[in-house]
Symmetry: C3
């Protein structure tokens, strides 16, 4: 943990100080938990009330914050940033840094095939298995019980957390992170049903994970039946996500926890898929598509759209539907009542 002045931090993030630039900062904390020497942040208006009680020494805020600040007696100095959340992330990196991985070197208790290429600057923990013809790039960290199957190629600076399993013939780019207990390249769910039996189709495609992608814990990324499954450059995938065989996730997509995507579907770049959403197989999702949590997507979606609901349609429309759904009983009663009034009117008209 390092010690910085607020002024130094402002310089780091290209922001401005409102208050004392000499204020000493040594840690980042939430508004609620922050104390003396801590810097905090406000990016979600839900937490504005905590400004009244926070004991943070400094707070990162957006440029348009100034006026609102008048409602509180703030003892904290302000760091005004163009993008407060990005500034926060830079300051966390500066003051706390990323996890330091155990420098185990190449353990004698790891199983490394003779045909595998493992640079000496890698750290391979106990009980790791590196199979035949695997090649690892420089400075990789493989935590205990990681399994890398035959012929898989891994780039530089990758981190595979404990019990991550990469099957055979997969390809990971540079700076790829795989969190614990995640599986990459297992056989896809592909069976040919014939005369009452489900015959397993060998999956000769594989999985390609491009540079800077990160996969959360407990995920399953199926290998392709014939073609490869692809996780694009810089894509980030949450925990317990299931990706079907042959599906392509475009660069810089964000997939939140428990998302499920069937096989042979394509997502463009910069899509965001909310938690527990499901996407059918064999469809195309354009670039920059936003899919709300728990949505069910069964048709292709054009670039730039924001959808929500099951079935997923335009998000604004679904939000209006969501308001009305719980009023369905009243709507039903209204229709019944209307029918009676109509009966009455028609009766009196005839008479």
């Amino acid at each position: 943990m390092k010690n910085k002045t607020l002024g130094q931090l402002a310089e780091l993030v290209g922001g401005q100080v409102a208050g004392d630039p000499e204020t000493k900062i040594n840690a980042v904390a939430t508004l609620e938990k922050a104390g003396n020497g801590d810097i905090s942040f406000l990016t979600n208006q839900k937490y504005t009330n905590q400004l009244k009680t926070t004991k943070a020494s400094a707070i990162i805020v957006a440029k348009d914050f100034k006026l609102n600040a008048k409602r509180y007696t703030l003892n904290a100095d302000l760091l005004i940033a163009d993008d407060p959340y990005y500034a926060l992330s830079q300051i966390v990196v500066c003051l706390h840094g990323y996890r330091e991985h155990p420098k185990t070197g190449i353990s004698k208790n790891a199983s490394i095939a003779k045909t595998a290429t493992v640079p000496e600057n890698c750290h391979i923990a106990d009980c790791v298995t590196i199979s035949e013809n695997v090649s690892l790039g420089d400075r990789c960290f493989l935590y205990p019980n990681v399994f890398v199957g035959p012929n898989t190629k891994i780039g530089n600076d990758c981190i595979l957390y404990p019990n991550a399993v990469i099957y055979d013939n997969c390809r990971l780019g540079n700076r790829v992170i795989i969190q614990a207990n995640t599986t990459v390249g297992e056989d896809g769910f592909g069976f040919a049903t014939y005369k009452g039996k489900h015959h397993k189709i060998p999956h000769i495609g594989s999985v390609i994970i491009e540079d800077d992608a990160e996969i959360g814990s407990g995920c399953g990324i199926e290998r392709g039946t014939l073609d490869d499954t692809v996780i694009g450059t810089g894509a980030k995938i949450g925990d317990l996500v299931a990706i079907g065989h042959g599906t392509k996730i475009g660069p810089h997509c964000l997939l939140v926890a428990q998302v499920g995507i069937s096989g042979s579907t394509t997502l463009g770049s910069y899509c965001v898929v909310g938690g527990q959403a499901g996407i059918a197989g064999h469809i195309n999702i354009g670039n920059g598509v936003m899919i709300g949590a728990q949505s069910g997507v069964s048709n292709s979606i054009d670039s730039g759209k924001t959808v929500l609901g099951a079935p997923a349609v335009d998000a604004g429309r679904t939000r209006r539907t969501y308001v009305l759904l719980p009023r369905l009983p009243e709507m039903h009663k209204s229709i019944k009542r209307i029918q009676k009034r109509l009966d009455q009117l028609e009766k009196s008209e005839k008479s």
Copy 2:
């Protein structure tokens, strides 16, 4: 397996025998599978019909069971208990006991850092990794391939099943159980998107799992970004549950399989969350809230409420909506028909 008389079991659970207290009981079984010497139970009315055919020697029933019993010729003796399900659990413990864990001692094939504290009465299996500065309480069982990251503290009598992964700096209380292939403390899904890149935010919070909590298989419990993620005392979490960074699960909550909760959300005590339900981030769920299976909760909920549906509202209301949802085509037709009748009426009124 032990041998008890029905009278002894009744005494154990504070219940009464209707029948022969000398009946020998040596096992617990379902009504369907039970045979001579088995005790069974009836707590779900769906199974009442099985009373006609069961071969159980005795059946645990509730106090209000007596009258219904007249409809059947029961050969079984009855054990009448205030809380039949709790009585069942006591009797299963008495006759069958909990799993006996392999007493491996501290394996020479485990990797234990010199700076780690591991009491001699712990059982640490092969291929377990205990990192620097870890401390374990008394009588813990760590199954094969468990990983415990640096600085993590674990209390007494904890059980970590195979391939459970606990990242660095986490804290587990006493009698915590982690089932196989579960991950605790992986990095949260937190990225600051800036100029087209998702920048990883170091997660300096950790995970605290309090006394008597149990986590199922294949779960992912993210560590907090700044603040800790907390699983409260006595909380029980099912399989394949995803808990977001900084979320607090209150004491004695029950989370069924495949629940997903986003980050920075708080659940009070004694909440019950049904299977596959999803809860948004940054909201507050009160005490004793019941959330139905597959619900989608996006707003805070007051204590004591029971909600259901996506979006989740009062459960009674959603149940009425659920009845009407499949009738939407008929409602739509009714509206069309009503419009025609109105047209007709208005026309004849004008003429």
Copy 3:
């Protein structure tokens, strides 16, 4: 990889060649990626357009394909098969084969209890744990870090991928495949709540996985409370599926990724459950039932039905509801407008 003529492949699958039976085929590929020497297939009409551009040397098609083919100038020969997808699977097996498992023999770095039975023709990798009284059939492959608990019996020709965990007393038939990071036989989610505490019920049932069943990655198959959980013969289960305690999955069922089934539910044979669908506990699903993706099933279903939606009802009905759901705002407006027109009519009638 082998080399065959198209005629030889046609003979293998019992199909007919339209074109040159001497065409050399050495690999299978998608229409998009196929090149010279590749055979491809058309079973999903979505891909018909790719016939215009594919460079495949041959294409597997159905018998009714002939007429449509006239719309394209196809350079590819055709292999006409009764069941093109099954023919594809046979040809992939012929030309590419299944994964060849590393023939590790029985590793000295595996932990094998003295009381366990492990035939010499098995391959047991490093860091595998085989507990007391386990018995393995012939020719099993256990990948690294697999754990097999006490008294579990495994049949012939089973494949357990890395980090698969099978708890105590389970039984796997012949040719069972368990993908990586899956857990079988963990304790079920069963607690008796008494005086504010959730008391853990020992789970004395176990898990039985019958012949030819396959379980995907990251699944959790709970052991039964009293009775066994059963996965039937030839059933195939996708990734991240959660099966509750005591549930019986009938023979040849297909459960797609992220399905969740609560405890004590029974599925008949040949059911198909779509991705992310949830099924409540203590209900009966008949034979051949089709349950759509993301459905929520809370009541028993008769054999042969196709259901969809949450709550799940007849799929045709739900599809009509799905069309109308996003039109709920318009329906609501219509009702309001109708009410005004009625007010007007009633008013003028009275005057």
